[in-house]
Symmetry: C2
Subunit: 500 residues, 2 copies
């Protein structure tokens, strides 16, 4: 069994315990670890690290692909191992530590981290810890359910620890396409010209001498936390499907539409599942995370091909999909997040991008990350990579939150992740606002009419009227622009005298 | 003379007066016009349009490359010809009309306008009006001092009016490189791999039958309004040159640096001129607008090659450079702004991007466009194309404005054009803040220490202390975050009790 997984001659001698492997990691080091939205993270070594931190001072900078499963970010933060963390996280305990200023979190576009590492605009990676299904005869590392930043971490790090996860099916081998951009000044075009383009190797090519330790594990990926569709998410999906139909009828999109990117989470997932009941066909995805909806669309015969950087499924779907991987494999590819999210490829392929907003404002600026303008939720993730360079940038959210105490549409967002320049379409359960080619005053009228919840419409219309009376390309009553957020903080409701 | 300029057989019959050509333009039409930062705009037809609007109702949508010279935007706005205007302008009269809500202005990333037109996400172009030095034997249009959006306008429009400008030297022929991305789903990589790559044609290829009218003109381009360097701009240039030296010494950049993009305006121009007195050599530019500094660097033997979308010079430099164009020509290329600003190429070449901020905040968010959060200045231009996808994104500004009544560094910007995710380096005359790899709280400390004017440091430190006490990844006192802007509006000074 192990011989099938560690095929490079001589490397089997480096199999050791997680504790022994973790002992290579010293206080102050920078770790590059596999893992992208709960998929394919190294599982044993970080646990051993957290354990060690109980008895000795141990603070590290942890870089990953994106968020981790198996409560690893929680465990590491509780053990105070994390001095710095990038480029994304989604763990409530870590989030609190970040918001208290205990962990320095660098919220990066997911396509950019390894570009900054490679050009040494970020400090060096001391050790990479990569989950793998196998090490090839030549010492190549075959990732598991995600690629993320693993390839560049392994290539750039001084030493590599590989966690061979025996519970991950060997059928994953052949799924990955590892391509690293060539060095400047002779960098060449990235030759992806369609979601199904394969341009690299099925493993991470490194010098096997750099593999300092190999740990055997069996722990599964955590399942996703996506909730089933509800009336609101179904309404959002309906508005978007209707809009796509409108674009097809006007000859602006073919019936196969264009490749989709879909952000993580319940709403975005529901939007994709909603395409099952539409006339669109032979769809493709060029996305980051392949979720339940990807396989729902495969099974419904709607989807031809999906490119991503990870596979993150619900518990039930995980049980179904992994054994059937050989059936899906010819229609799937997992790439480094630098390539899945690369501006060059996103613009070339003409991606339709669907991401979730925390809040947006009447002029179309989107906040994806900061609650109340100050508290980090998860991070910008890949939304900026896609929104900025895609064919059509769509943001979805429910129009209200917390039982109506919060309007997701506000006079001015309290933090901007995506500017008005990068936002084409906004959708709430109330309706869809098509902002393409509109000036700010026109955007505001459209968003008010289409997206704002009825309980906030009068207050918003009142704000807009008073702002417009003052003039400006983007009218605001500047001393009131963030008053909804200030009031929420003080009274628990965004509107005056409306507290529950 | 005219036969040399209009070489396509039969087309000389279409030479007519500007009034006759303008009569093709009807009320409600969309015009795509040449012109990019005062260079190469059509000059006679828009004047004839403005004249016509005195006696008949005439409202159009005007698209250009960027801003126009010869007071054209002013004249057209005064004549109430402009219903809609995109993607950029820089004319005080038009700016006022936009801020009053009289002209709907769509502030677009300069790389995106023709992509939206081509995919019909923006409505059709009825007529293109293009300034040219010549029409070739095959009917190809040879632009003058800018390419801008002219190629796609001419290709997509129903009819084309060409203004042959006899005052523009014929030596401009051969300077341009016209490349149009291939159609999806078969779009191919854009083959620019270095600033000097030539990938297209030296003229705009269109069916000569579409050329409905040809007008002969002789008017010069307007000269740029760049001011000479002062102590502050010299200090900014000094900080930046010192920083580049630091990057070279640490092996992160070669002595030839990487290709530069430099925004328009006095400060950015001074920064480039500042490189004359540095050890860096064999520099290259992959930029939008080639300004005086480009030719200063050529003449100093510092610059090997410059790629841009227009040439915009001061009056004195214009007189010197145009006659010597044959000498410079092998080191210059002018491209469509879609290509000069293309995310694919910008990321590939690893551009060092220097743009001017109107204001930035302690967390590194940049406002490039909106005075007081509401009034449009010029537009985002290409700054977003470069900042988002470049190798290193640098924003420069003087730390105070209006004699100290305004701090260019504020607790929270009143409008965001470039988010914290897209901003690496900030420079004022006070110093340089290197934000790479820093969390928001660290960014704030660095910006306070390096960039804020002494007269605002105490107030900023006080805000930061109170914000940090409240917690959050990006601490703010949300009800006070825009109070400096509100106070400026009320009292004429950003700080309490400090009004002059």
């Amino acid at each position: 069994m192990v011989a099938e997984r560690v095929r490079c001659r001589g490397l089997q001698d480096r199999i050791c315990s997680a504790d022994a492997a973790a002992s290579l990691i010293k206080d102050g080091m920078t770790l590059g670890m596999s893992g992208f939205t709960r998929a394919g993270e190294a599982k044993a070594v970080p646990m051993a690290l957290a354990e060690r931190a109980r008895t000795e001072p141990l603070k590290i900078t942890l870089m990953t692909g994106a968020s981790l499963g198996n409560d690893l970010d929680k465990t590491l933060a509780e053990a105070h191992v994390l001095a710095r963390r990038m480029p994304f996280q989604a763990a409530p305990y870590l989030r609190n530590a970040i918001n208290k200023g205990e962990v320095m979190f660098i919220d990066h576009h997911l396509s950019e981290t390894v570009e900054h590492l490679r050009t040494r605009q970020l400090g060096p990676v001391d050790i990479a810890v990569i989950e793998a299904v196998a090490i090839t005869e030549q010492g190549g590392i075959v990732p598991t359910t995600s690629v993320g930043n693993s390839a560049s971490f392994a290539i750039l790090a001084d030493k590599v620890i590989v966690e061979i996860n025996l519970s991950q099916p060997q059928a994953l081998e052949g799924l990955h396409d590892i391509y690293i951009p060539t060095r400047r000044p002779a960098r060449e075009p990235i030759p992806v010209v369609a979601p199904e383009s394969r341009i690299g190797l099925p493993y991470i090519p490194i010098d096997p001498d750099k593999i300092a330790a190999i740990v055997l594990t069996e722990k599964h990926d955590s399942s996703s936390t996506v909730l089933p569709p509800d009336a609101d998410t179904r309404a959002i999906a309906g508005h978007l499907a209707e809009f796509m139909g409108h674009e097809v009828r006007h000859g602006r999109l073919p019936e196969t539409l264009q490749p989709f990117q879909v952000g993580i989470g319940t709403i975005a997932n529901a939007v994709m599942t909603g395409f099952i009941d539409t006339p669109f066909h032979n769809l493709t995805m060029y996305s980051e995370v392949l979720q339940d909806s990807t396989f729902d669309l495969f099974d419904a015969g709607k989807l031809d091909f999906a490119s991503g950087s990870s596979i993150t499924l619900s518990a039930a779907r995980y049980q179904e999909v992994l054994p059937k991987l050989p059936d899906y494999k010819s229609r799937l590819v997992l790439r480094p997040q630098e390539i899945s999210n690369h501006p060059e490829v996103i613009r070339r392929l003409g991606i339709i991008c669907v991401n979730t907003a925390l809040e947006f404002d009447i002029y179309g600026n989107v906040n994806s990350t900061h609650v109340g303008g100050t508290k980090m939720m998860n991070g910008i993730g890949g939304s900026g990579d896609f929104a900025r360079n895609g064919f059509m940038s769509i943001f979805v959210t429910k129009s209200i939150a917390k039982g109506g105490n919060i309007s997701s549409v506000v006079p001015m967002v309290s933090h901007v992740d995506h500017t008005e320049h990068d936002v084409d379409i906004l959708v709430t359960e109330q309706g869809l606002a098509d902002l393409r080619g509109l000036a700010p005053r026109e955007r505001a009228e459209t968003i008010l009419a289409r997206c704002v919840h009825p309980s906030y419409r009068d207050a918003m219309a009142d704000y807009m009227a008073r702002a417009t009376a003052r003039g400006g390309h983007t009218p605001h009553v500047i001393e009131e622009a963030l008053s909804w957020h200030a009031r929420l903080r003080e009274t628990g409701h965004m509107l005056d005298g409306a507290a529950a």
